[in-house]
């Protein structure tokens, strides 16, 4: 701030100075008027006394002549005393002093010296005439010649008669005394006139000054009013006064916030624009008495909601306001930002929890369970489903559904029949009845509906779609769509990853030629089943004369034979049965929940299928089987030995047959298969095939010896 510059104080009570100036002016004017009046009254009283004394001289001059005549006639009289009073009074009137009392008439009178040249000249003339009168009177009484009496007042007396001469002098004295009294009285009148003029002047002056100050006061007040209005109107703060009859004032910024004209707001009650749920808050604050800060929402004319923070001050008792003053700020942006931040935090939390849960899912089934739980969390009552493509990626299958609601039941069969998958972005349909709605939403069991479809993908490749339905024209909210999108993204990532992992695992445990699992996988499965006590049948198959086939038709033909055998096995066994290439031309088949006899039936069907199979450029081939089940052995090795026993007995028996293995290699054990007697026994036994296989885990394409 500039040193010495006056601070800007818009509401400083400047009018006090003006009011004080008005009062001071009145006081000064009144004091001056009173002083003048007192002074003038004092002077007027004195002048009245002077006039009285001056007028008394007239009477004394006449009395002096009478007393001279009386004394001359021998009567008792004292003209000398009268002459003395006359002389003293004349001097007192002129130069001040005491005018002596006239015996039995009045008292001594103190007088000030006369002022004013005219009256002083007259009084001096009076003094001279009094002297001439008394001198003439004295000469008359003393019988001296009057012509010798010197006249100092320039009289030119032509009369010779002494008495007449004395009377003329008395008349002149009387006349000048009268005129002096008149002059004094006129001066008093003039003074009174001057006083009146001066008082009128003072009154007018005081009035003018007061009017000027009052004008200044009004101007100041008006300026303050204008300043206040400017401040309020240009302020971004929202000001409103709510009186008994509704809104009494609304600042332009408040009118703008409410989307109405100032005049349109006047008289309206706050209930008309305060949100229903916040009216009680506003009412309570307005009636609280003390200033109180509250937050509430208002509805604009166009229906839009705004959030306000306001200070309510009850000034209903203030006659200048007569209402509750509401001083508010628009906090809509802040509130929305806070809400957005809160939602973002919720999204982050949901995303984080979902990510962690999916990370813990070891396989697709686990992932599906997590997805179902997430569906419940997004909206328990909303029908949702996850449709995922199968390994061919041509068909969509229902992988997960919301456990707390009916499945939406989207009939889409193929990923690319889904519009959301094709677009690669979420699609929201307000109503299944709209022209541009997905046709697969129509004719659902629940009737018309709204829907949200979010594509699920992994590394840019479509995996499926997350689908949710809701009441018509009331689709899931924006926030839930965001959560569904998060779920689709993370589910896609996890399922894609799990699938890739499973594929990799499968590839690592699969025989490259036949596509069957290798012996390590099967062995692990069998040991697991044995450990779990789960019953199964186990068969070992070996292609007959495979070495000969290889040597005669080449390794390529041998490989084709191996692949064909694998295909035929697959076509015969049940889903869930395990088939593995054990090594060379040897295969293992595990048949859960079956015993030997049931297994033999299946193997016979396999042998039959093999006999009828088209063989292409290599001759027909057969296979020998040894079979057992988990009821005859306690461990994997025993079981394998028994199955192997069966196989060798099939080989020994002439190949192309199925033989049930025996736990003992010493006792004779005859098993009738297909009407043939297969003999098994000691000496016929050679080292179990799996031992050989163990030595040659990765069989050469040419296979092993064919017997």
């Amino acid at each position: 701030m500039i040193r010495g510059a006056k601070a800007f104080r818009p509401f400083a009570p400047r009018s006090r100075k003006t009011i004080a100036a008005i009062l001071l002016t009145f006081a000064l004017m009144s004091a001056l008027t009173i002083t003048l009046s007192l002074s003038a009254t004092g002077r007027s009283q004195h002048r009245a006394t002077v006039v009285q004394v001056a007028a008394r001289q007239r009477m004394l001059a006449t009395r002096y002549v009478e007393e001279v005549l009386l004394l001359q006639a021998g009567r008792h009289a004292d003209p000398a005393a009268t002459a003395a009073i006359l002389t003293s009074s004349a001097h007192a009137l002129l130069d001040g002093g005491t005018a002596p009392a006239v015996p039995s008439d009045d008292d001594d009178t103190k007088l000030s010296a006369a002022s004013g040249s005219e009256v002083r000249a007259q009084l001096m003339q009076e003094t001279r005439l009094v002297a001439d009168l008394s001198a003439t009177g004295s000469a008359l009484l003393a019988h001296r010649p009057l012509a010798q009496v010197p006249l100092r007042a320039h009289e030119h007396l032509a009369v010779r008669d002494p008495i007449q001469r004395l009377r003329v002098l008395a008349a002149l004295t009387s006349n000048v005394s009268l005129n002096a009294a008149r002059t004094i009285a006129q001066a008093a009148d003039q003074n009174i006139s001057n006083l009146i003029v001066m008082q009128i002047g003072l009154g007018i002056g005081g009035l003018l000054v007061s009017l000027l100050l009052a004008w200044a006061l009004i101007a100041t007040t008006r300026r303050q009013g204008v300043r206040f209005r400017s401040l309020v109107q240009s302020s971004s703060d929202l000001v409103m006064i709510l009186g008994e009859g509704g809104c009494r004032y609304a600042s332009p910024s408040m009118a703008k916030i409410l989307g109405r004209a100032d005049a349109d707001l006047l008289g309206r009650r706050y209930e008309e624009f305060v949100h229903d749920e916040d009216r009680a808050t506003v009412r309570a604050a307005a009636e609280h008495g003390e200033p109180r800060e509250i937050s509430f929402r208002v509805r604009k004319a166009n229906g839009e909601m705004r959030h306000l923070d306001a200070l309510l001050t009850d000034l209903r008792g203030d006659r200048h306001i007569r209402g509750v003053v509401l001083n508010a700020r628009d906090t809509t942006e802040r509130v929305e930002l806070e809400r957005e931040l809160g939602l973002q935090a919720q999204r982050d939390s949901f995303s984080s929890q979902l990510g962690e849960a999916l990370e813990m899912a070891d396989d697709q089934n686990d992932a599906h369970e997590v997805i179902e739980r997430a569906m419940t969390q997004i909206s328990a009552s909303t029908p949702m489903e996850l449709l995922l493509s199968d390994s061919s990626r041509a068909n969509l299958e229902r992988a997960a559904i919301s456990p707390t609601a009916d499945p939406p039941g989207c009939p889409v069969k193929s990923p690319f029949s889904c519009v959301a998958v094709r677009r690669g972005s979420p699609v929201v349909f307000d109503s299944s009845e709209m022209l541009n709605a997905c046709p697969k939403l129509r004719d659902r069991a629940g009737g018309a509906c709204s829907a949200v479809c979010v594509p699920v993908s992994f590394m840019g490749r479509a995996l499926g779609v997350l689908h949710a339905t809701g009441p018509e024209n009331r689709p899931l909210g924006k926030e839930q769509v965001v959560q569904l999108t998060t779920l689709a993204t993370q589910a896609g990532a996890r399922i894609g990853t799990v699938r890739a992992f499973e594929r990799t695992q499968l590839q690592a445990s699969t025989d490259g030629l036949t596509g069957l699992v290798n012996r390590r996988v099967l062995e692990r499965e069998l040991r697991s089943m044995l450990h779990a006590g789960r019953p199964f049948a186990l068969a070992i198959a070996d292609l007959d004369n495979f070495k000969q086939l290889n040597d005669t038709y080449g390794h390529a033909a041998g490989d084709r034979a191996l692949r064909q055998f694998a295909q035929i096995v697959h076509s015969v066994v049940r889903e869930g049965d395990l088939v593995a290439r054990w090594g060379g031309e040897e295969f293992m088949i595990a048949l859960p929940e079956l015993d030997c006899q049931q297994a033999v039936k299946i193997l016979e069907r396999l042998r039959s299928e093999l006999g009828e199979a088209h063989v292409g450029d290599h001759p027909r081939f057969t296979a020998s089987f040894g079979v057992t089940d988990s009821s005859v052995a306690d461990n994997f090795e025993q079981l394998m030995a028994i199955a192997d026993n069966g196989l060798y007995r099939s080989k020994d028996g002439g190949r192309d047959r199925v033989t049930v293995g025996h736990p003992s290699i010493d006792g004779a054990d005859l098993t009738v298969v297909q009407g043939q007697t297969v003999r098994t026994g000691a000496g016929a036994r050679r080292a179990p095939a799996f031992h050989e296989a163990a030595e040659d885990e990765d069989p050469p394409a040419s296979g092993r010896e064919i017997r």
């Binding site: 005219e118 000249a121 007259q122 001096m124 003339q125 007042a153 320039h154 009289e155 030119h156 007396l157 032509a158 009369v159 007449q164 009377r167 003329v168 002098l169 008395a170 008349a171 002149l172 009387s174 006349n175 000048v176 005129n179 008149r182 002059t183």
Partner: protein, 109 residues
């Protein structure tokens, strides 16, 4: 025509040609004085019963002009038509005529 009044004398010309004359009357004071112009054969004018003041009623039409008492220092004018004859200029405030305040004027054709 200049007329000067003072306590107690009137100074003015004593001869004048007939006709309308403006008298410029100066009161030199100190007392107040009036001026009365009357046609009269001599300065001895008829007095009232008090023996001091001139009987103006007795003068009748002989009075040809007059000024009311004027304050000391006042300068006033009086327009008078003078026919040939003798005139007396005097002040008739009490005692002033007898005190010597009169002057004669002869108006010639």
């Amino acid at each position: 025509m200049q007329v000067s009044e003072a306590d107690f004398a009137i100074s003015a010309t004593h001869r004048l040609t007939a006709g309308d004359v403006v008298l410029r009357v100066h009161n030199e004071g100190p007392d107040q004085h009036e001026l009365i112009v009357a046609r009269a054969p001599s300065a001895r004018l008829p007095l009232r019963s008090d023996g001091i003041t001139v009987d103006e009623e007795a003068l009748g039409h002989a009075e040809v002009g007059s000024l009311e008492p004027g304050k000391a220092g006042a300068l006033r004018e009086l327009k008078v038509h003078f026919a040939p004859g003798r005139y007396v200029l005097f002040c008739n405030m009490t005692g002033h005529y007898m005190g010597g305040m009169h002057s004669t004027l002869v108006v010639a054709q």
